[in-house]
């Protein structure tokens, strides 16, 4: 049974990854990142169950905390950028190039 969870987790992770790559709206990109993190959490929780070890759940917990912090900072950055550039597209922020 746990294999199913892991495959689901892999699927969600890949979908999230594709989303990061194809979407241009910074907020949606961020959501996709959250999706990837969640997929990981699912894998952690599944492994905890598989191995009979609570550490997996613990890691998932920590991931949530970090994700929360990351969202806070990330969204603040997006807001700042939007305020100056009137755009939330990640493609518009491409000054740091060749």
């Amino acid at each position: 049974m746990t294999t199913h969870y892991l495959v689901l987790s892999a699927l969600l992770f890949a979908i999230g990854g594709v989303g990061v790559l194809v979407r241009r709206n910074a907020i949606v990109v961020f959501m996709c990142v959250e999706l990837m993190l969640n997929a990981c959490n699912l894998a952690f929780v599944t492994f905890a169950r598989q191995n009979g070890n609570l550490d997996g759940q613990l890691i998932a917990f920590f991931v949530m905390i970090v994700a929360a912090a990351e969202v806070v900072i990330g969204l603040a950055i997006i807001v700042t950028i939007f305020r100056t550039r009137r755009s939330a597209s990640v493609d518009d922020v491409s000054l740091l190039k060749y």
């Binding site: 990854g17 990061v20 790559l21 194809v22 241009r24 990640v90 493609d91 922020v93 491409s94 000054l95 740091l96 190039k97 060749y98």
Partner: protein
């Protein structure tokens, strides 16, 4: 007869022979470093140092005479110049002391003359400094006991010559002539240097004593090579073919310089070198033959050039070339010719200096005009100059009983015995000499006045005429004194060796008579063309031969076509190659790297998603690799 052994010597005037070099050197140093402060007495100091040097030379000579003939080669050690290569010492022997006397005596006279000649030049002090420098270098050249020190003196006189030819360096022609003289001399030095290298590679020493005494042990091929290389050096310094072109241009220098350096002393250094290196040449017949051929070719070339020049100094310069050709010819013959070569060198030093200074006196009187076509009838206004010049003239054409008669005819006789063709060519040269020297005298002192309206010729001051008088005395009597009774040959033999059989002097030999006749014909022809007839103020275009002679036998044109133009072309090519080729390669490499990175940096698009994609794909590839490797 072989040269005598060198005896180490100390004490007396010979022991202090280094003073001969040091005194003028100090003079030059004081005058150059002292700057304007020494302007007041600079010329006097210069004269004093030259005269003092002469005194030392005379005392040394006297002391040398005090020794038995076989002990008249005295070596003086000075110091270790280049450890392992050369110690510097002086060699006072009959050969070098003869030169010393000539250099210091004529040199002193010309110093004195220059006081008057350069009186109005603001840089007279510098002129005397250079003259002193020249005297010192020339004395080092002849007194050195090894080839390195000789070379130092050799280049020293070259430097002095450069400085003095270019003395009026604000004139582009003078500056160019000076540079040309130095560079052509350097070509000669190239040969001399390689000759010296070969000597060192062969003998591992450069001292005359060791090299010359052991010359017969070396292979004749080596000796021929050395001899020819030394000859190249001699050609450069003595303006022999094919390195003759600088001497005529060198007349841009002040006239005393032409008299001292380019007539009496420096240009004869080549003759000195050949005579000094006698044992090397005697071991290499080919080299000797080449020496004689060069001598004859130059004596004819110089004479031909002399016939067409209207510039009085250039005519005299052509004559100098020609006369040195005689000396080289004699030096190439071997011990039989050495004495005559040196004797002619000494008498030539007197009468040519006399004539150059005479020419200087004329120019001084004629507002520095050098074109003989603007002279004429000067014998009345400048009697002293005329008489002394006339004596020099008679001496050079070989008028019986004057100096040239003894020394030049001696060379012709010796050459005739050595090789008839060379001898007859030398006779022909004497005939041409008769023509061009007569032409010069007639154009200058006889005929009608062709002066520029502004010219007011006058006799020169005593400080200039007295040297002329003294030199003309030498021009009269020195030849007889040296040659009669083989006096000079005997004196010189300990230094350079002597032929088995001393030559005897025949006053009316066939050769002598033919020579005299040819000279007379030449002089008569000159009288017809330039003495009696009107001399046109502008040179007629002349025949092909005249133009040929006037343009220095196309020597300059040849140099220009063969060396200068290809050289300029080569230089431009090399610069272009360096900028575009070598540096272009370097810069091209840099540009290539720059271009590649310029293209490569386009990968950095600035789009976060591109970066994310590469991270994502990279992670996928890594995961795949990990799976594959893990399952292996």
């Amino acid at each position: 007869m072989e040269p005598a052994e060198i005896i180490q010597h100390s004490g007396g005037a010979i022991g202090a022979a280094w003073l001969m070099i040091a005194l003028p050197l100090v003079g030059a140093a004081v005058l150059l470093l002292g700057g304007r402060r020494t302007d007041k007495f600079g010329h006097l100091l210069g004269v004093l140092m030259a005269v003092a040097s002469f005194v030392v030379a005379a005392l040394s000579f006297a002391q040398l005479l005090g020794f038995a003939p076989g002990e008249r080669r005295r070596g003086i050690e000075l110091y270790d110049f280049i450890p392992g290569l050369a110690k510097v010492g002086l060699l006072v022997d009959p050969l070098s002391i003869s030169f010393c006397l000539l250099i210091t005596f004529v040199g002193s006279l010309i110093h004195i003359y220059s006081i008057g000649y350069m009186a109005h030049d603001p840089n007279r002090r510098r002129f005397f400094a250079y003259l002193n420098l020249f005297v010192a270098a020339m004395l080092l050249l002849v007194l050195a006991d090894n080839y390195v020190a000789l070379f130092v003196g050799w280049e020293g006189v070259g430097l002095a010559s450069y400085l003095l030819i270019g003395f009026w360096q604000h004139k582009p022609s003078a500056a160019t002539a000076a540079k040309k003289a130095f560079i052509v001399n350097r070509v000669g030095d190239f040969g001399l240097l390689i000759g010296i290298f070969t000597i060192f590679a062969t003998f591992h020493t450069l001292a005359f004593n060791d090299v010359l005494a052991n010359a017969d042990k070396a292979s004749s091929g080596t000796l021929t090579a050395i001899g020819l290389l030394l000859l190249v050096g001699a050609c450069g310094k003595s303006a022999q073919l094919p390195l003759q072109s600088w001497l005529l241009d060198a007349m841009e220098g002040p006239t005393p310089v032409s008299a001292l350096i380019h007539a009496a002393t420096m240009v004869t250094a080549g003759v000195y070198l050949i005579v000094r290196s006698g044992p090397i040449f005697q071991g290499a017949e080919t080299a000797q033959l080449v020496v004689t051929i060069v001598g004859v070719a130059t004596l004819l070339a110089g004479a031909i050039i002399g016939t067409a020049k209207d510039d009085i100094k250039k005519a005299l310069a052509g004559s100098t070339m020609s006369q040195i050709g005689y000396m080289v010819l004699a030096a190439g013959i071997g011990p039989a010719g050495y004495a005559f070569a040196i004797a002619h060198l000494i008498t030539h030093g007197f009468f040519k200096a006399d004539m150059f200074l005479g020419a200087g006196s004329v120019m001084h009187a004629m507002n520095d005009e050098v074109d003989m076509r603007k002279y004429g009838a000067l014998r009345k206004v400048m009697p002293v100059t005329f008489v002394t010049f006339l004596i020099g003239y008679l001496a050079i054409i070989g008028f019986p009983l004057l100096s040239g008669y003894f020394t030049k005819d001696g060379i012709i006789e010796t050459a005739m015995e050595h090789n008839a063709i060379l001898g007859w060519l030398a006779v022909l040269g004497a005939g041409i000499t008769g023509f061009y020297m007569s032409r010069l005298v007639f154009m200058t002192f006889f005929g009608a006045k062709r002066w520029e309206p502004t010219a007011h010729p006058h006799e020169s001051p005593a400080v200039m005429t007295w040297p002329l008088i003294i030199l003309s005395v030498g021009a009269i009597g020195l030849g007889a004194f040296l040659v009669l009774g083989n006096r000079f040959m005997t004196f010189l033999s300990p230094a350079v060796g002597a032929p088995e059989e001393m030559p005897s002097f025949h006053p009316f030999s066939l050769t002598g008579l033919v020579t005299l006749a040819l000279v007379a014909i030449g002089a008569a022809f000159a009288w017809v063309k330039y003495g009696r007839a009107e001399v046109p103020a502008v040179a007629p275009r002349g025949s092909f031969l005249t133009v040929f002679a006037r343009r220095d036998l196309y020597g300059d044109a040849l140099n220009e076509a063969l060396f200068m133009r290809p050289g300029q072309w080569l230089t431009r090519l090399a610069v272009f190659f360096d900028n575009r080729g070598v540096d272009g390669l370097v810069n091209g490499l840099a540009a290539g790297i720059g271009g590649t990175s310029g293209r490569l940096r386009r990968v950095q698009t600035g789009f976060v998603r591109s970066y994310a994609l590469s991270i994502f794909l990279g992670a996928a590839v890594l995961a795949g690799a990990w799976l594959v490797v893990g399952n292996l």
